[in-house]
Each structure stands twice: as C-alpha cells, then as structure tokens.
Amino acid sequence: MIPPVLLELAWQFGLLSFLAIGGVNALIPEIHRRVVEMEHWMSNADFAQAFAIAQAAPGPNMLIVSVIGWKVSGVLGAFVATVAICAPSSVLTFAVAHVWDRFREAPLRVAIQHGLAPVTVGLVLASGYILARAADQTWAAFAITGATTALVLVTRVHPLWFLAAGALLGAFGAV
C-alpha cells in the first residue's frame, strides 16, 4: 500500500511539471500557493528555508522540490517529488524534440516564443516577490536581498559569493 501522502506529492508535482513554462524559477509562486496555502505542508518560514537549502547545494534550482518532498515525507518523499517534477515534462520533451526541429523557422513557433517570453518574465519577478515576502522578515534581511539584486545587476561577481556573504552575515546575527 503506497502512503497517500506520496501519491499526493506525485500528483501535485506531476501536474506542476506541465505548468513549468520558463523553468522552476517561474514556478515558485505556484509551488508556494499549493504547498503553503492549500496543502499546509509547511509554513512560510519553512518554505524560505527549503529555498535556502536548495540554493546552498550545487545543481539545478528544481532541488527546492526535493527539499519540500523530504520535509513532507522523508527521503522517499524527496525522491517521489523530484521524479514527479521531471518525468511528465521529460516524456513530452522526448516526444516533441524530433518533430520540433522541422518547424525551426515556422512563424507560429517564433510567435509562440515571443509571446511566452514576457509571461515568463512576469512569473520570475513574481517568484522574487513571493520569496522576499517569505524570507525577508527583518529590515536587515530585506537589505541583503536589495543589495544582492543591485550588485548582480551592476557587477559580474559569481552568484556563489552573494550566498556566502548572506550566510556569513546571517551566522553573525545580522538578520
């Protein structure tokens, strides 16, 4: 008998796999809505921690899904959630990849790409907003987010340095 919570994880993230237009960063508001607001699997603070843990590990940013699965139902939960976010879209990609090359210059394909690009931008900015509300409970934390945003935009420093700086400031009690 498969525990119901694993089926629920598989269903929720399997569905999200098809909605992940523009990758997992664009999906964060919807993951938050389902996991925190609808399913009550974790609090706002837990969500921010899961995001931080996923960012602190190397690898794709979809790891936040693994951490959420782990929080909900341990290692098995992590595995189920990770496979669920990858598998449906992967099957689709596998099926479409051959066909797609033939339509490389088709105007409809170009229109679809031009049309979806700004939707993705809106989604990613919404992710930033939702995460800032979940993560930045103090003025100092808010300032770290603001400073990181500004510095990324005007310098070419590797992103890892910002995470390290944030960790150090936090560890010494600045947030």
Partner: protein
Amino acid sequence: MSAGPRPPIAAAAIPTRLALFLGFMQVGLQGFGGVLPFAHRMLVGQHRWLTEREFNEVLSLSQFLPGPNIINLAIIIGNRFRGPLGSLTACLGLMLMPFLIVIALAALYARFADLEWVRGATIGVSSAATGLIIAMGFKMTVPMKRIPWQIAVAGVTFVAIGLLRTPLLWTLAAMAPASVAVAWWAMRR
C-alpha cells in the same frame, strides 16, 4: 598561415553513455546559482559535443517546453547521441549527486536548526538567493525594453501571480494564448 578552411568544431566523436553520465554529473556539481552556463561550457567548450549554434537551438527548445530546463536539455542531448537510454543516463548523471547533497543538507539543517547561527545563516542565504532571482527577472526584461505589449504582459502576469495569487493554470490559460496572439499580430504587421 594556412588558408584552408577551419576544421569543423562540431562533435568530434559521439560520446559514450559513461561520458554523458560523467559530463552531466560535472555540470550538476558545478552549478551553483544556475546550471545552464556550466552546461554550455561542458557541451560546447570542453567536449565539443555541440556547436554554439546547436547549443542555442537545443537551449531554446528546452526553455520553450514545460519542465526544468536543464532536464529537458539533458533529455534532448542524451537522446541525440545515445537514444532513450542516453537521455536517462544524462538525467541521472545530472541529478544524482545534487539530490544526495541537498538531502544531506536538509537533514543537517533539521538536526542543527536550534543553533542560532545556523538559523541566521539560512535566513541570510535565502535573502541573498531571493536577490539573485529578482535580478534574473530584471535581466530578462532587457530584451523587451522597447516592446510595450511585452512589458504589459509581464506586468499583468506579475500582478496576477504575485499579488492576486491567481492559480497558475488559469493565468497561463488566459495569458499565454493572448500574448502569442499579440506576438503573431505584431509580426504580421
């Protein structure tokens, strides 16, 4: 200097499954704050499995289709060289180590979350990482600077998802066709 044509930089040899596995594993382990630049370096620069142009084509398809972009990329490239098993190998190589590391980190965090400095460090990381996402969003707006309808679409999507918390399914069902229709109309004009 010899005037002959430069040798093609494309796929020197078809990678074995093991090479695919190891190549993508390397990408997964290096990728802090976004794996795509590392995938580019591995595929085009280091192994020359793809030319610059081929990479851009595969990338744009990976980003266009739903799902994690880097997984889609691994699926397409794995399949191109080694069929369905190649896809599976590339994905496994990409995900195995990061998955184990992130679970170890989550377990460590759960064990030491009572320590004040661990909690603080985590908050600091999530605040900084949030800044990375916001900056990425702003960078993505650059190509649409002079295209008012694209700015409007991005704005409406932001308000619907971020402020009004509309379900993603309904938002996409409304925004995606509308935005593609405008793009189509703008192209025809």
